[in-house]
């Protein structure tokens, strides 16, 4: 009897593994789909990853719980017809000890050696899930890397504004629509002619030196005789410079400026 209980414990473990594998594959699909959907919203990148991860975690735990509750030995029997009806009969009569039940347990143990957990995994469904996941991944890459210009949808709920890039201070687009005023005049800030440029070409000439430099005429420097003229013999200051009103005004201005700084 202990051996048959051990057999059923093994069967339960195998069924649990199958449930986890199937739920894991479904969770991956859910994550990619949720990521794809949230990437259309105008929210910070952290939340674009966090929301799908949370949804996936909830899905994983819920799905696992539901699948475990629905788990029946009939699943194993359907996948392995050689133990059809034997498995659940042995399970329901596990505590009975007589010749017939012992014979049943003996035969069941013999036949269970030829069963395989692989039969429980439906290969077609698994391949479909993998292909779907790959398609969604490529779709995500296509949308993001090729810079497909889709309209970013802002979150309409006020409590969730913290997720928007720029924080809470960013006004919601679409809020207070009545205050929007469209400039229907020709008055613009700056030079009005600029606003009217439209598709006209602008000729921009850049002349940094105010003279034309011909790089072909550049030669080695020549020695100049500075004594022949150009250098003043005497250096003196024009006394009129100190008597001009301009200088006085400038001095007064400097004094006032210094006083102001001092007051501060």
């Amino acid at each position: 009897m202990a051996k048959i209980k051990g057999l059923f414990n093994e069967v339960k473990v195998e069924l649990l593994k199958v449930v986890l594998i199937n739920t894991f594959l479904d969770a991956i699909m859910v994550f990619f789909i949720a990521y794809f959907i949230t990437s259309f919203f105008n929210i910070k990148f952290l939340y674009i990853v966090l929301i799908p991860a949370s949804v996936t975690a909830v899905f994983f735990f819920t799905s696992t719980t539901i699948r475990i509750r629905k788990l029946r030995l009939k699943v194993m029997e359907d996948a392995n017809p050689q133990v059809k009806e034997m498995l659940r009969t042995a399970h329901d009569n596990m505590d009975d000890e007589n010749l017939m039940t012992n014979a049943l347990f003996y035969e069941l143990k013999k036949k269970m050696k030829s069963t395989s957990t692989g039969n429980l995994l439906e290969s077609k469904k698994i391949i479909t899930r993998i292909i779907s996941a790959v398609v969604i991944v490529f779709l995500i890459i296509f949308v993001s890397s090729l810079n497909v210009n889709l309209e970013k949808i802002d979150i309409p709920f006020e409590k969730l504004r913290f997720m928007i890039p720029g924080g809470k201070d960013q006004p919601l687009v679409g809020g207070n629509i009545t205050e929007l005023v469209f400039n229907e005049t020709e008055v613009v800030y700056g030079d009005a002619s600029i606003a009217k440029l439209g598709n006209e070409e602008i000729d921009l000439n850049m002349n940094p030196t105010m003279s034309e430099i011909d790089f072909n005429e550049i030669s080695q420097a020549e020695r100049e005789n500075l004594r022949e003229g150009g250098v003043p013999q005497e250096i003196g200051v024009n006394p009129d410079v100190f008597n001009s009103q301009e200088v006085l005004d400038e001095a007064e201005q400097a004094a006032n400026y210094s006083q102001r700084i001092k007051d501060i």
């Binding site: 329901d92 009569n93 017939m100 039940t101």
Partner: protein
């Protein structure tokens, strides 16, 4: 662990494995029994199987058949193969209970007279009660009491019947005039109602060939002893059944009580017990160590057909009990 204990453990394991291997051979055993019976009886495999099921369940069967279909020969052959004592009771309206169970007779020995109980035909292992519906209700009740109690009481003395004890009662579906149909409460005591149909063309050709060329008197071998049969009866009750299949059997029986549009009176809990037992016996006869859902569905017909009473609407539509049972199982 001492050597003595180890060897005792090994012997126990070997005996255990031997017992299991013997059970593996059961299918061959029943197959050989059917082959031996088929030396005399052509066809009727389903009837023979249902009679064997009744015997394994330590219960009784009601056979409904037209005359001349080999009922007596069949049951006589089964009793020879199973090494069981056979007796036949031809029921007539003037049959008395003492004709069945026995009576006291006066004997004289050495000038002294004494009463001696002369056992009736009921003191056998297999009793064929032919045309039970011809006997008076008083005679029927004497036989039914023997069936139920496995003993007979004469005067103030009780005589136990030999085990295994099996009664196969027959009824003729035609020629019902001047008969005393068994009341429903008594019919309920029979585990199965077996229908015997005419053989098909090939089988009847075989019958002609066997019994018209020369006076055939084939002998059959005894394949099972009385003790083996008792062991098989114990094994039948030990056959395990899954809970959901047990539930399915109970659902079928309870539906007979709720389907008021076709059934006037449904089956009793005796039918639930009978269905599970019959399914276990069917599994054993087929060499399986567990009851299958198919066993329950196949045995539902012989177990339930004599326990349900159809209403007027069903009879007007020409429905038979088997048709109604088929609808219940959908």
């Amino acid at each position: 662990m001492s050597a003595h204990k180890k060897s005792a453990g090994r012997m126990k394991m070997a005996k255990h494995i031997d017992s299991i291997r013997n059970i593996e051979k059961l299918k061959d055993t029943f197959s050989n029994v059917s082959k031996e019976i088929s030396k005399i009886i052509v066809g009727q495999e389903e009837v023979i199987e249902q009679i064997l099921i009744s015997i394994l369940c330590d219960s009784n069967a009601l056979l409904e058949s037209y005359p001349g279909l080999g009922k007596t020969t069949m049951i006589k052959t089964i009793s020879d193969v199973l090494d069981l004592k056979f007796s036949r009771i031809q029921n007539t309206p003037d049959l008395m209970p003492s004709d069945i169970i026995g009576t006291y007779v006066i004997e004289e020995e050495k000038g002294k007279k004494s009463f001696r109980f002369q056992k009736g035909p009921v003191f056998a292992n297999i009793v064929l009660a032919d045309e039970i519906n011809r006997a008076t209700p008083k005679t029927q009740s004497a036989l039914l009491e023997a069936m139920q109690e496995k003993q007979v009481t004469v005067g103030n003395q009780t005589f136990a019947l030999d085990t295994p004890f099996f009664v196969l009662a027959t009824q003729n579906p035609i020629d019902m005039e001047g008969t005393y149909p068994l009341p429903e409460a008594q019919v309920d005591r029979f585990l199965l109602k077996v229908l015997v149909n005419y053989p098909n063309f090939d089988d009847e050709m075989e019958i002609i060939n066997r019994f018209t060329k020369a006076k055939a008197d084939p002998k059959v071998r005894t394949l099972l002893s009385k003790d083996s049969l008792k062991l098989l009866q114990n094994l039948t009750r030990q056959v395990p059944i899954a809970d959901d299949i047990k539930k399915r059997a109970l659902e079928i029986v309870t539906k007979t009580r709720t389907k008021k549009d076709l059934i006037e009176y449904g089956a009793s809990p005796r039918a639930s017990i009978g269905l599970i037992l019959a399914a276990k016996a069917k599994a054993l006869v087929n060499g399986r160590k567990y009851v299958s859902a198919k066993d329950v569905e196949e045995m539902a017909y012989p177990v339930l057909r004599h326990r349900i009473i159809l209403n007027f609407k069903a009879e007007r539509e020409g429905k038979t009990p088997d048709d109604v049972i088929r609808e219940l199982m959908k």
